[in-house]
């Protein structure tokens, strides 16, 4: 089966590249082995602010709205992080004094939203917080199985019953100028966010929960649909098992499901992610890229991979596949001429150029797409 480009990995990096290539009329396939780190997405496309308009335009065409505001976002554990471009679910504050008084509302039995941590953090910056819980009879069934009171299941209930929760919050609300809610709204359709904002008597901010991320899942679904509407082929739940690489050129890859029907392409993009999605694999003595055996830098002494201080910047998070300036992956010191590496598989090796995580995924995808388009002009 022949494509212009085959992308290995269907997360944010792979989909951004796939959508951009399909928009340019290139026949593209994405091979995705299971779902991806979008299900843990904070909603923040980290700094630098480069490519803001381009990112927003790509997402808007897929039906995902973004906010381009410089400021700080409140993270699930009560810490703050710089933001310049976020999903519309995320509220960006100008500074850490987010309000004089805040009402934090959680759902009874929902353990993935840390209202106390958030209150503690906000009080340090002069925001008086009050925590209240709501419960709906329509959600009681979720509590039958203690492990299923999770963001996605609440979001499904909320799609139907959000008005009842809004009514409860209106009763709980006194004189607070800010109401904080967990991000458990709009699993398929984000329009409910605005409805809630309009219906409540104070400013509303939606704060991230522990995974899975409801805004992340919605974004993933919308991006995948956009890619398919553009004519892209998304091979879900399949996995590249081997690649034909000769003389610095990849000619085809083999997948578990298609086996003898190999995927041929002019270009290949490796977007298989970091440790979580097994784009990078560790053994007791090695850190390696399992598919092509690409070059990776890591210290021989294993104890230098990590620091004992859990919260310190961990060296292993910086291990990534080596590339040249154009993001061609290196193997045995030489660039593979039609294989690019993008996203988390790079580790934090190019932080100053591309940012980290989501920002890295999108910006490296753009850089490679431009390269591929430029090559063929």
């Amino acid at each position: 089966m022949r494509f212009d480009t085959v992308i290995i990995g269907g997360g944010l990096a792979g989909l951004t590249a796939g959508i951009s290539l399909q928009e340019a009329g290139r026949k593209t396939a994405i091979v995705s082995s299971g779902q991806n780190a979008m299900h843990f997405f904070s909603g923040n496309f980290e700094s630098p602010s480069a490519d803001r308009d381009r990112i927003a335009a790509l997402f808007a065409a897929a039906g995902v709205r973004t906010n381009a505001i410089d400021g700080q976002m409140l993270m699930p554990m009560g810490t703050f992080r710089d933001a310049s471009l976020t999903l519309e679910d995320v509220t960006v504050f100008p500074d850490r004094h987010v309000a004089d008084k805040a009402l934090i509302v959680n759902f009874t039995g929902f353990h993935d939203f840390f209202s106390t941590f958030i209150a503690d953090a906000l009080e340090q910056d002069g925001t008086a917080c009050r925590i209240r819980f709501v419960r709906l009879p329509e959600m009681e069934h979720l509590r039958l199985s203690p492990s299923e009171m999770r963001s996605v299941n609440i979001a499904r209930a909320m799609d139907e019953h959000w008005e009842k929760v809004v009514a409860d919050i209106r009763i709980l609300h006194k004189d607070e100028d800010l109401i904080l809610l967990p991000q458990v709204f709009g699993l398929k359709d984000a329009s409910v966010l605005d409805k809630i904002r309009t219906a409540l008597p104070a400013r509303v901010a939606f704060i991230g929960t522990m995974p899975p991320s409801v805004p992340g899942i919605r974004t993933q679904m919308l991006l995948k649909r956009r890619f398919e509407v553009l004519g892209g082929t998304y091979l879900m739940g399949d996995e590249v098992t081997s690649a034909a690489l000769h003389d610095g050129i990849v000619s085809s890859v083999t997948t578990r499901n298609l086996d003898t029907v190999r995927l041929f392409a002019d270009h290949f993009i490796l977007a298989t992610g970091g440790y979580f999605s097994k784009g990078i694999v560790t053994t007791p003595t090695q850190v390696h890229e399992p598919l092509f055996g690409l070059d990776l830098d890591f210290p021989e002494n294993r104890s230098a991979w990590y620091r004992a201080d859990f919260f310190a910047d961990q060296p292993f998070m910086n291990f990534g596949v080596k590339t040249d300036e154009a993001l061609h992956a290196l193997k045995d010191g030489e660039p593979v001429r039609n294989l690019f590496a993008i996203g988390s598989i790079l580790g934090n090796t190019r932080k100053e150029d591309f940012g980290t995580a989501a920002g890295l995924a999108i910006r490296t995808a753009f850089a490679v797409v431009d390269n591929i388009k430029g090559e063929n002009v």
Partner: protein
């Protein structure tokens, strides 16, 4: 203490890292509060069941075995296999009469075929539906699949000589549906294969693949079917034949459920058992055969990917074949279970959940308003036709009507 005994599972439950992505994609969780969800029913529960079978939960029967959890899992855990294997291992409740009837698709087919007009007339009557609903708990909203008066096997046997004339040959695992309910699909398949210069043979005594037996607690009987099918398919493979199918679920069951759930080794046949769409695509791509399409064929098709086809990863062959037909306007429907899952949706206790699961799919079909829907699965076809009123055609049947006679 024999720690291994209480921690080792044939399935890789220990690779689960509790991310809950499977639950996000489970079609049952949103519609049936009694179902604990794939993570709890699968890897979490497995850990407990290994310690003590007491922890087996009857609510595992609400699992559709659609495999969407496995397709979504980032860690490659065979979540649905864990759930189904637990049902086989721990649930010793004897299946009800209704479940036996629904599951024995080939036995029921053989029984009904000689009386097809009477049976079809009876099952179509409101009063019969009410009786089935009241006595057997088969939901009255369901339309029973019609039985055909003449079997597909008989039809093809009468054409043995004619088919033997083709130099290139394949064997065909037709399945119960083609044989007893809808021989036209088998005839369409033979027409397309012949147009490609390929003759079609029957297997020597195929049995029902057994998917419904597995789903209804009759794994032992399914294992007997598996033995017979593996033997019959192996005999064809030994003659150098590919064995083709037109049912995505039969194919999936024989390739993957036999070794994973019934512990039936199928290495000798697994690579030779192919969906017809895949085989046809490969012939056309290699340019070893051509199809001549009609010039005046113009249709708008919306394609639904059955869950088991999605798990096989072979939907792409159906899409590519349909897109290849000049005059076809193709739309790929969103990935969404139709809710029937074989015999599941026929049961009165599952009817409402079944329809709720399929609703987004039905809504999308109505809003697209295609000329017809395409799909590789017979039970999805019943469900979509009953729930939307749109006709559903198999990609092979579409090829058959689009090529020149």
């Amino acid at each position: 203490m024999k720690i291994q005994e209480f921690t080792a599972s044939a399935h890789n439950f220990e690779e689960c890292m509790k991310c809950t992505v499977c639950t996000a994609y489970c079609p049952v969780v949103p519609v049936n509060p009694r179902y604990p969800g794939p993570k709890q029913a699968g890897p979490d529960g497995e850990r407990l069941r290994l310690k003590d079978p007491y922890f087996f939960n009857q609510a595992l029967k609400y699992c559709l075995n659609c495999k969407r959890c496995e397709v979504a899992c980032p860690s490659g855990v065979n979540v649905a296999d864990i759930i189904q294997a637990a049902r086989i291992r721990y649930d010793h409740t004897p299946p009800k009469l209704r479940d036996r009837m629904l599951a024995n698709t080939d036995f029921m087919g053989r029984l009904a075929r000689p009386f097809a007009p009477i049976v079809n007339g009876m099952t179509g009557l409101g009063v019969s539906k009410a009786v089935l609903d009241a006595t057997l708990a088969i939901d009255r909203h369901r339309t029973f699949p019609k039985y055909s008066g003449r079997s597909f096997e008989g039809w093809l046997k009468r054409r043995t000589k004619e088919q033997a004339k083709f130099e290139r040959q394949v064997a065909y695992f037709h399945g119960c549906y083609v044989n007893y309910n809808y021989p036209q699909l088998g005839k369409d398949f033979v027409k397309v294969m012949n147009a490609l210069g390929v003759g079609v043979q029957l297997l020597d005594k195929e049995k029902c693949c057994g998917v419904a037996l597995i789903a209804n607690g009759m794994a032992k009987q399914a294992a007997k079917h598996a033995d017979k099918n593996i033997k019959a398919i192996q005999a064809a493979v030994d003659k150098g034949l590919n064995v083709l199918t037109t049912s995505s679920t039969c194919t999936f069951t024989i390739r993957d459920e036999y070794p994973h759930l019934l512990q039936k080794e199928n290495d000798g046949i697994r690579d030779s058992l192919l969906l017809a769409t895949r085989y046809i695509y490969q012939l056309l791509e290699a340019s070893t055969a051509q199809l001549k399409f009609k010039e005046n064929y113009h249709v708008r098709i919306a394609y639904h990917t059955p869950c088991h086809l999605e798990k096989l990863g072979w939907g792409i062959f159906s899409y590519e074949l349909l897109k290849m037909i000049p005059g076809v306007e193709f739309t790929l429907l969103d990935s969404n279970c139709c809710g029937i899952s074989g015999t599941y949706g026929f049961k009165k206790e599952n009817y409402e959940a079944s329809q709720a699961i399929g609703k987004p799919l039905f809504d999308q079909i109505r809003s697209l308003n295609p000329d017809f829907v395409a799909c590789d699965c017979e039970t999805c076809k019943w469900q979509i036709e009953m729930s939307t009123g749109f006709t559903v055609k198999h990609p092979v049947s579409i090829l058959a009507e689009a090529i020149e006679d």
